[in-house]
Every structure is written in C-alpha cells, then in structure tokens.
Symmetry: none
Subunit: 80 residues, 2 copies
DNA sequence: AGATATTTGTTCGTATGTATC
DNA sequence: GGATACATACGAACAAATATC
C-alpha cells in the first residue's frame, strides 16, 4: 500500500512506483498492467489512473494501443 | 486568449464568449464543447467551467445529459 | 460470422482543500 | 469574511475498438 504524501499528486506517486518497476525489470517490455488494474492495486480512481498512464506515456516509457492496452517500451514503428 | 476583466466573474466572461458562439452559429445545435474542453481552451479550473455550463443551462441555451455531454438547443422531451 | 470479454476513451457529477482578492 | 478561482481526486455512466472463442 502506498502511504500518500501531501507534497505531490497521487497520480505522480503512483507513476513513480510503476516507473521503478519498469526500470528494475519487474515490468519487462510487453503488456503493462491495465488502467483498471492500477485502480485496483493502488486504490485510486479511474480518472486518476488515466493521468498515471498519460504521464508515463509522455515520458516515453510506455505506449498505448487504443482500446487494447498499454505496453512497456518504445512505440513500435510500421516496418517490422 | 481572453483578457480577463475585473468587473465580472471569469465564468461569466467565458459564458459570454460561448453564448456568442451559439448565437452566431459557430456552435450549431448539437454537441457542445466538453467542460474539460472549456478548461483547456480558456485556461480556467474545472470547477469554474462547471459554473459556465450551469449558467448557460439556466439560460436555457444548452442542456446537459449526465455523464455524457452538453448540447446546444432546448432540452428534448420524451415524446419525440 | 457472431457473441463475449477486455480495455481504453470520454464525459459529467461531486467533494475537499487551498489561495487570493 | 465572503466570493471567486484553482488543483486534485473520487465516482459513475456510457462509448467504442480490439481480441478471442
């Protein structure tokens, strides 16, 4: 369970945890936990979980295939 | 960008802009810009954007379907 | 082809706390 | 002190695309 801190937004704190899991290899390249999964695990609202994935996406740490899922790693290109 | 004036509330100033767009036909009957869209475009807080739609709703200029969206025009009745 | 399950996408509704004028 | 505005978060409903069986 996360001990929420008052000095940063919850979505940022959750993003930090997931970022660490990616960097440590706990979340290897491939499918990421779903947004609803994040809701369940961290006990946050869906709208907040959306901000988590949006943040990680902006960082380039994950990419998202619409209506399907998010993935750890760089966005794949066409020719492959 | 809106140049905020001190003589009226921000939500009123934004409502005035949207009202003009409706009356000019720039916003035709049908779906209105979302509340979050208003937040983005005008650089105001969500709670303030809520007051904008509330005001336009009170005027009867728009109606809102909960959890779905706001629409330009009169509230539809059941029998049609 | 069709039904189903899964997942993301979008939107409004509501509440709380903080800051500023 | 009250009104206004901002930031954040939770909750809920529904839409739409995708993959699977």
């Amino acid at each position: 369970m996360i001990e929420w801190r008052a000095d940063s937004a919850r979505w940022e704190q959750v993003a930090r945890v997931i970022r660490k899991r990616i960097e440590s290899g706990e979340y290897p390249p491939g499918r990421l936990i779903s947004e609803r999964g994040i809701v369940e695990e961290f006990g946050i609202a869906y709208t907040t979980a959306r901000k988590v994935t949006a943040g990680l996406r902006t960082e380039g740490l994950i990419y998202t295939r619409p209506n399907y899922g998010s993935f750890v790693g760089p966005e794949p290109t066409d020719n492959e």
